[in-house]
Symmetry: C2
Subunit: 136 residues, 2 copies
């Protein structure tokens, strides 16, 4: 059960690592296909899962429920624009908050945490674009 290093896995990782926009599997497929046109969606999903097991990518889900992939592996937060769907990485806002501390005092283990902010990004706010409630 040893893992092999294939061009598909490498390219998939390169694409995610080069993307700052938290692409979905479908978007990753498109970008991988620019370099390897015959890659299939199933392979992309399998390889993303492999990369996740290895801790090289992270799966993020926002209000709409579809999986977004991020090569920024450390704990951090996100801003999601409800108008255009853009996602921005943010620094982890603060150290473990009072909630985590309170839970740990009661025997809970808090392994990680993440905050998502939802609103309208600067560009959309300028153009006056309104949030259509759909966020992937």
């Amino acid at each position: 059960m040893k893992q092999r290093s294939t061009r598909q896995v490498a390219t998939t990782y390169d694409v995610v690592a080069a993307s700052a926009d938290h692409p979905t599997a479908e978007q990753i497929l498109e970008r991988v296909r620019q370099k390897m046109p015959r890659v299939s969606l199933g392979t992309v999903y399998r390889n993303l899962e492999k990369l996740r097991e290895q801790g090289r990518v992270v799966v993020v889900r926002f209000a709409g429920g579809v999986a977004h992939y991020d090569a920024m592996v450390g704990e951090h937060d996100h801003f999601v624009c409800e108008s255009c769907g853009a996602v921005r990485d943010l620094e982890p806002a603060r150290a473990r908050g009072s909630n985590a501390t309170a839970l740990e005092r009661r025997g809970y283990v808090v392994r990680w945490q993440t905050t998502s902010l939802y609103g309208t990004c600067g560009e959309c706010a300028e153009v006056g674009r309104q949030p259509p409630v759909i966020v992937n």
Copy 2:
């Protein structure tokens, strides 16, 4: 296009309001059926959407991507047990963090935010149950 008040909507809301465990649509269906056995899943989804539009329930998604429904409508945070899947409401940890302030200074609108903590709940920690990485 006026809204009618039906027993299905009322019962669906009652079920969500009486549930502290953030049930999925399927779980809500089961509970509604205890009172109205012929209700269908499609109706539950339609009514949950209606309640969401009315601001009476809120959709929450965790790492696994499936929709959970919550009648606690105010802004608040969640703890998710990675072992048993239990979800606990937490108080909103803090006022708008520095991230929100910084974004707003740049012309962003931050409409709401939510934090999710992931770990092991007290009960699972006691029994020594390990996280299986699956969280609905």
